[in-house]
């Protein structure tokens, strides 16, 4: 029995409003439960776990030009002057791990080459090595493997 009354022609009664409030509150609750489920299921990373933060040492412990690999974190900590970089070891081509060479890093899978500071030197990789955020807190060097920035695209 469908009347052709255009929607909104009838004014919403108090009783009807109650229903809309009821439905909204239930929808809100479902959304809240969904949020709680998400918070439950989203992984947290402990310090020292890949995805979490790694303590590398004090600033003085690293020489200028040094490259310190970290196996669990899958990165190379490089000091250039006063700047620290944490280069993600995964090649930006298809995902193999790059190895250290005299000039920098090389990928054993398809021959991509990178300079010591992560810059792309030889393709087929399309961009520089990705980096993890490095924080210096009270002279301590921390690498956050949960915060990754992509390397710059390059044509070589």
């Amino acid at each position: 029995m469908s009347e052709e009354t255009p929607a909104g022609a009838q004014k919403v009664t108090r009783r009807e409003f109650l229903w809309y409030a009821w439905a909204s509150s239930l929808a809100l609750f479902m959304a809240g439960s969904g949020g709680a489920t998400l918070a439950f299921a989203y992984p947290r990373f402990k310090e020292g776990e890949f995805g979490g933060k790694f303590y590398m040492g004090r600033v003085e412990d690293f020489e200028d030009g040094s490259v310190t690999p970290n196996r669990d974190g899958k990165f190379f900590l490089v000091r250039i002057g006063d700047e620290f970089k944490a280069l993600y070891q995964v090649c930006t081509h298809l995902g193999c791990l790059v190895r250290q060479t005299d000039e920098g890093y090389a990928c054993p899978c398809h021959g991509s080459k990178f300079a010591k500071d992560g810059r792309l030197v030889a393709s087929p990789a399309p961009r520089d090595l990705d980096e993890f955020a490095v924080e210096i807190i009270d002279g301590e060097v921390w690498v956050d493997t949960g915060a990754k920035t992509k390397g710059q695209n390059r044509n070589v």
Partner: protein
């Protein structure tokens, strides 16, 4: 003029499309039908609010209307509904808890610790799951009692009663299999005790136990089997049998109250599912969740004892509360002259008999009347069964025949080594370093911290009761940074000889929430 007609028809077309789409979403109820329902308008004929029950999957499982007499809360107490509600809560919380849990004897316990300290809402989910499990067992048993006392199991619902008894068994198995998963002392020993009855079965007992545990004793194979039972085998069985059970309830309708069934009064009024019962069930869902959440936030906590230790049975080991009646039974004296083990009769035969009787009830009870006045024997037996259950349950607790020596009991209550006791109620500062003696301790003089005073007074009373003439000495020593050692020495005279007993434990500052 032609333009107006086109735009109008485009708007109309859009409205038409929206109405049609919403009608299909609401399974045959158009937006206007819905609004009429919301506004409290009585339905027209034919009643459009019956349409979803024939076109929608979910609603085809629910009755279109209920006789008013069965909707009275004090008739069924919504116990069947509550069982289904809890099953859903347990299913969802259970699936979530599967994400951070590994069924390995090396990992399980630590995954539980991780859930409680490193997973947001982890403790909440675990407490909800445990509360749901305890409530589920209680509610299905009370549901069974309700159905028994209203005689609803009689024809034509006898088959559904037997399906219900199978569901009861599935519920118990769910709870028991889940009990083992935290792999703590409580879990390990409750399951060891329970499954030890399996091998008392003559001839094939050993084989049954091996099948149950996958090994001669509870270990990794048992954990895997119980896990598989808990997360897939039993859920599948539940879906099958609950499906049958609920299908029969909808097809045969909820049994009318005995007086209506006997024709003593009439019930012609109908309560429609849409909107009345739907709104009421939504209310129950929210109130049920609110009750559970508040319980979990205030007083209810899922227990976790120490890591399972196959070499040390803790004092006062008990089965889960719904199996305490069996634990009580097996404490009865062995009167079978060595022909069969007592625990076979008490632990296997008798519970099996009880289960068989429950199963066959509708076929044993041939009385067609459901009125209490015509069923005096059945009602009496029901009441006696409840009392017996209560007595046997009490007998299953450590209070009956399972007390250790008085000195061990005192030490267990006041300075336990593997659980929380009276000493853990003191705050860190109240655990003042020093030696305190029940003989010389002065109470009421404000010399000592309040918690310590309460402890010593209670200790003195306990000693007077259990070890008359005895003396207790409490020594608190700062042992390491944030760690204190608590020593309890008990000295008493018995039969002219002096006896001593010592027990000590350690408390770390972070163990006490001050």
């Amino acid at each position: 003029m032609a333009e107006n007609k086109e735009t109008k028809s485009r708007r109309d077309k859009a409205r038409e499309w929206l109405n049609g789409y919403l009608t299909s979403v609401f399974a045959g109820l158009s937006p206007q039908d819905l609004r009429d329902m919301f506004r409290g308008k009585p339905p027209g004929r034919p009643n459009p609010r019956y349409k979803p029950h024939t076109t929608s999957f979910w609603l085809h499982m629910k009755p279109r209307w209920y006789p008013k007499s069965v909707t009275r809360f004090s008739y069924t107490f919504a116990l069947g509904w509550a069982s289904a509600f809890l099953a859903v809560v347990l299913g969802i919380s259970g699936i979530l808890l599967m994400l951070p849990y590994t069924p390995s004897v090396d990992k399980a316990y630590f995954d539980i610790l991780n859930i409680m300290s490193n997973v947001p809402f982890g403790k909440l989910m675990r407490d909800l799951h445990r509360l749901g499990a305890e409530l589920m067992v209680a509610i299905v048993m009370v549901h069974m009692l309700r159905v028994y006392f209203t005689g609803s199991y009689k024809q034509p619902r006898s088959f559904n009663w037997t399906v219900g008894v199978i569901l009861l068994l599935i519920t118990w198995l769910f709870s028991y299999s889940g009990y083992l998963l935290p792999w703590d002392q409580l879990a390990y020993w409750a399951v060891t005790i329970g499954t030890s009855m399996a091998d008392s079965v003559p001839v094939i007992g050993k084989n049954i136990q091996l099948l149950l545990l996958g090994a001669p004793a509870v270990g990794q194979p048992a954990l895997l089997r119980f896990y598989a039972l808990h997360v897939i085998i039993l859920p599948l069985a539940l879906i099958i049998f609950f499906g049958i059970h609920y299908y029969k309830v909808v097809r045969q309708k909820i049994s009318p109250p005995p007086s209506v069934a006997a024709g003593l009064r009439e019930d012609k009024e109908r309560v429609p599912f849409l909107p009345d019962v739907l709104v009421r069930e939504a209310l129950w869902v929210i109130l049920g969740l609110l009750f559970m959440l508040i319980s979990v936030v205030t007083f209810f906590e899922a227990p976790l004892e120490m890591h399972a230790d196959p070499n040390l049975t803790p004092l006062h080991s008990t089965a889960p509360w719904y199996f305490l009646w069996i634990q009580g039974l097996i404490k009865l004296p062995d009167i079978f002259g060595g022909l069969v083990e007592g625990k076979f009769i008490y632990g296997v035969v008798l519970p099996g008999l009880v289960f068989a009787l429950l199963f066959a009830l509708p076929y044993i009870d041939r009385n067609p009347s459901r009125l209490p006045q015509d069923r005096k024997l059945a009602i009496a037996i029901g009441i006696v069964a409840i009392i017996l259950f209560g007595v046997l349950t009490w007998m299953g607790t450590p209070a009956y025949k399972a007390q250790a020596s008085p000195q061990e009991e005192i030490a267990l209550e006041f300075v336990p080594t593997d659980r929380e006791g009276a000493i853990h109620e003191l705050s860190w500062d109240e655990l003042a370093e020093g030696t305190y003696d029940t003989e010389t301790f002065v109470s009421g003089a404000m010399m000592y911290p309040k918690g310590l005073e309460t402890f010593m007074v209670e200790l003195r009373e306990a000693i007077e009761k259990e070890l008359p003439g005895g003396v207790g000495t409490l020594t608190i020593t700062v042992w390491q940074k944030d760690l204190k050692r608590i020593d309890l020495d008990l000295r008493w005279t018995e039969g002219g000889e002096e006896h001593t007993f010592q027990q000590h434990t350690y408390i770390h500052r972070n163990m006490i929430s001050d």
